[in-house]
């Protein structure tokens, strides 16, 4: 059977279920998948987390290294986030430098972390104007079954939360925890037909028209958003997404907090 017919059948099946508010794996439209988090699994990293969100699996590692601050922020540490969609994670992922999907993923995660001020970058200053701690987050998709945005966000937040500034390794004082001020959590929904569903799996993403990722902080304030996909969302749908992002974000924050 051709893959096109297959996907047509799958689409019909998912749409029919959604008409009754149900999903392939038995979840309701606002249910997230089971989350498993393993922190500090990588000793060579200064912080790390490997997480599973359903069958989607992501690892994030943090390396913290002394470096030179940017000229316009002489007392601020530097935060950098990269993501790779390695071919291990899905048959459609290819080797090579990050493509637009990986770049968008990294930038959306980065914005949530950065704009929420999760890491107190001012506390990363070693010598003003000369030396600061540079914090590199590297995210790898290990298995892709939808919603890499939230999986990568959670892995990154957990890795940073568990990270240690390796002062002793570099003769820059004693080791101490990376200073964390809050936990920015993203909640991603996609639109299938006219239904918005939370934490989509691969099949749901494939047949969706639009995607919205909303990142909130501990106060339920909005810190980052990104609409994706070739569809549109109405103002009412946007409002619904915002409500859910606050609520579900708070639940996830409790799990990993």
């Amino acid at each position: 059977m051709s893959s096109e017919i297959m996907s047509e059948i799958k689409r019909d099946h998912i749409m029919k279920l959604l008409a009754d508010g149900k999903r392939q794996d038995g979840r309701g439209v606002t249910d997230t998948r089971k989350l498993e988090v393993e922190v500090n699994c990588i000793e060579s990293a200064d912080g790390s987390a490997r997480i599973k969100l359903g069958k989607t699996e992501v690892i994030a590692g943090v390396k913290i290294i002394p470096g030179t601050p940017f000229g316009d922020t002489p007392t601020s540490g530097v935060l950098t986030t990269g993501a790779e969609l390695i071919p291990m994670a899905h048959p459609t992922f290819e080797s090579g430098p990050p493509g637009e999907d990986a770049i968008e993923l990294a930038r959306v995660v980065d914005r949530g972390i950065r704009e929420s001020g999760m890491v107190d970058v001012e506390a990363l200053c070693i010598t003003p104007g000369e030396e600061v701690w540079m914090c590199f987050v590297d995210i790898y998709a290990l298995n892709y079954d939808g919603n890499l945005f939230d999986a990568a966000n959670i892995a990154t937040v957990c890795a940073l939360k568990s990270a240690t500034i390796p002062g002793e390794q570099y003769g820059k004082g004693e080791n101490k925890p990376l200073p964390i001020t809050c936990l920015p959590i993203s909640v991603t929904e996609v639109k299938v037909g006219n239904t918005l569903i939370v934490d989509p799996d691969y099949d749901e993403e494939q047949i969706s028209s639009a995607r919205l990722t909303v990142t909130t902080d501990d106060n339920g304030n909005f810190r980052a958003m990104q609409k994706g996909g070739r569809g549109s969302i109405t103002l009412d749908e946007l409002s619904l997404c915002l409500d859910r992002a606050v609520e579900i974000g708070a639940e996830i924050r409790k799990i990993i907090g």
Binding site: E100, I103, E104, A106, R107, R111, R114, E115, S116, G117, L212, D217, G220, N221, F222, R223, A224, M225, Q226, K227, G228, G229, R230, G231, S232, I233, T234, L235, L238, S239, L242, V246
Partner: protein, 246 residues
């Protein structure tokens, strides 16, 4: 969004440093049909932003493996020219411009009747000649006009504008200083006939009330931008055809 600043960006009378009120956008100038070779083109100024957009297509899709047998794809390339920013920008795509190209492509694909041109590519090139906060919105606004100028059937002509927050106030269409020292930025693009959102990003720090207000400002302003887009196209079609297209 640095968020931390003592800079006064809105005075006690609610006036912004460039003399605008909170709900005012910068001066906007739109011109359609400004380049000879492109199938469609447009020039847009919003404040100090200067943007060119050109459209080629529908034409054969390269690379081939991107072809869709059911419909055309829209491929947008957003590019900042080296001298468009205060520090020289190194030529070539960076991560920011790749992300912007992707979300503008997606926004345009919603409105273009891509199903009319199976296997084809509609190529949109946005060049930022001068940047001053708001280039992605200016670029998408220009691209929509260029697509219309190219005679490509669309559901709607898409306007885009940002709202944001600076000095604690929700403001329409942030300028460079407000963007640099403000607390939030929300670029948005809509289909004016339905107010459906085709592009939305946000970064910074906003309560729900602030965000709702920002969206309201931006959606209203999008309708104004749309009027200017339509005006530009009307002026374009009332001009004699460009020499190359006789």
């Amino acid at each position: 969004m640095s968020g931390h600043t003592d800079m006064v960006l809105v005075d006690e009378n609610g006036m912004r440093i460039d003399g605008r009120t909170a709900e005012e956008h910068r001066h906007i100038k739109i011109e359609a049909g400004v380049l000879e070779n492109a199938d469609g083109s447009a020039y847009v100024e919003i404040g100090k932003n200067k943007v060119l957009a050109a459209v080629y297509g529908p034409r054969e899709c390269h690379p081939r493996h991107l072809q869709n047998p059911q419909k055309a794809i829209v491929q947008c390339k957003y590019n900042m020219q080296a001298f468009s920013v205060s520090d020289r920008k190194r030529p070539g795509p960076d991560r920011r411009s790749i992300e912007i190209s992707k979300i503008i492509s997606e926004a345009l694909e919603k409105v273009v009747l891509t199903e009319l041109y199976p296997r084809a590519s509609i190529d949109v090139y946005i060049e930022i000649l001068q940047a001053n906060a708001g280039t992605r919105c200016a670029g998408l606004t220009a691209a929509s006009v260029a697509l219309a100028d190219a005679g490509i059937p669309m559901r709607d002509i898409v306007p885009a504008i940002a709202a944001g927050k600076a000095d604690g106030h929700v403001l329409l269409d942030l300028n460079k200083e407000e963007d640099n020292y403000g607390q939030a930025d929300v670029p948005i693009a809509i289909m004016p006939s339905t107010d459906e959102i085709v592009l939305l990003q946000m970064d910074g720090n906003m309560t729900r009330e602030e965000f709702d207000h920002a969206i309201e400002l931006a959606v209203n302003a999008c309708h104004e931008v749309h009027d200017l887009q339509v005006d530009a196209l009307k002026r374009r079609y009332s001009k004699p055809a460009k020499e190359g297209s006789e």
